[in-house]
């Protein structure tokens, strides 16, 4: 089995894992009981999707690989998630902005991935679409409420988008594995999703009385394993148990 396919699956899975891990940090710390449960629900949806991808990748990889070794025993450089999903939960505005920027991309990706000639990936995508549609509705609603809310909520929402915008272009960069998988009919041409993504984000931000940031230079690296300074801390917390007590089970 080609490494490209495994790498491709890990790329999609790592986005869901790291965003899920970030959201799960809010468990017990959400701004209200109701939003706490909602963000934790979204985290669980993403971790569930992650498991399906990792189980499949482990099967393709063979040997000792399992979903757990893929989640907990890789090193920072081996994770292929985009920089956007590892950015911290600065405030609820950031959490929702990061979520919405990713949700719109995620749904566009899954809508294409369900047509993959790989039946397992197509099935995981199909199953995830309902969950991600809800994620997008939830985050989009909050952006409208906060953007078109009070002066303070508007300013904080705008600041979140201004600061996260630099991470958005990476979503649409094609790695060599992406290209190989598109050619094989397995993967999605993410570069082709950018127009639809931009259009949808612009429409919602306009409705929320927010300004779409105008930026010429963007950060990238996560897809190639070059992460921001936050990634090490995420992995330290996430991998602590398996590193300290190897092979520990519940």
């Amino acid at each position: 089995m080609s490494n490209s396919k495994i790498n491709y699956i890990l790329g999609i899975a790592d986005n869901a894992l790291i965003l899920g891990q970030r959201l799960s940090e809010l468990c017990g710390h959400g701004p209200s009981l109701e939003t706490d449960i909602a963000t934790t629900n979204i985290a669980l949806d993403l971790l569930g999707q992650t498991r399906s991808y990792y189980q499949y990748a482990a099967e393709l990889q063979g040997g000792e690989a399992t979903e757990d070794t893929l989640a907990f025993l890789r090193k920072e450089r081996e994770y292929k998630n985009v920089l956007l999903v590892e950015q911290p939960n600065t405030d609820f505005g950031y959490v929702m902005a990061r979520q919405y920027l990713f949700d719109v991309f995620h749904l566009l990706l899954l809508e294409q991935l369900q047509n993959s000639n790989d039946e397992v990936l197509a099935a995981i995508a199909k199953k995830s679409i309902k969950e991600v549609s809800y994620h997008k509705r939830f985050s989009g609603d909050w952006i409208k409420r906060l953007g078109d809310g009070t002066e303070e909520s508007h300013n904080r929402m705008q600041e979140a988008f201004d600061n996260l915008w630099t991470f958005t272009n990476e979503l649409f960069l094609m790695t060599a594995d992406d290209t190989a998988m598109v050619e094989a009919g397995v993967g999605v041409d993410v570069a082709a999703l950018k127009a639809a993504w931009t259009q949808e984000i612009t429409a919602l931000l306009t409705e929320a009385t927010l300004t779409v940031p105008d930026l010429k230079y963007f950060l990238k690296g996560g897809k190639e394993g070059i992460h921001s300074e936050h990634m090490g801390f995420i992995l330290t917390e996430m991998q602590y148990m398996q590193r300290t007590y190897p092979n520990m089970t519940w």
Partner: protein, 93 residues
């Protein structure tokens, strides 16, 4: 967020059954109340339909008047249809 209004949540668990009160939550408006209810009360597949009602819109009976309101019915057994045998197929009576 402490001043968000309270909403009562009613969930219908299956088609054909009635909505039942299952709890309350805080939300700024009806749309958010529905979304919150979805996350708080239907995470384990409990429902097929949700109603939310502002708690302030509910008029409740006064517990101090429970005696005159409810007790006169207790000693009139002939009002209770307990003498009918229900077929086993009849559910949810």
């Amino acid at each position: 967020m402490n001043n968000w209004p309270l909403w009562e949540v009613f969930i219908r668990s299956k088609n054909g059954l009635e909505h039942r009160h299952c709890g309350s939550l805080h939300a700024t408006d009806a749309t958010m109340a529905l979304e919150n209810a979805r996350d708080v009360y239907t995470r384990r597949g409990e429902g097929v339909s949700i109603w939310v009602v502002p708690s302030s819109q509910i008029t409740a009976s006064n517990p101090e008047h429970n005696g005159e309101t409810f007790e006169p019915a207790l000693d009139k057994v002939y009002r209770h249809p307990t003498f009918y045998e229900l077929p086993d197929e009849l559910k949810h009576m």
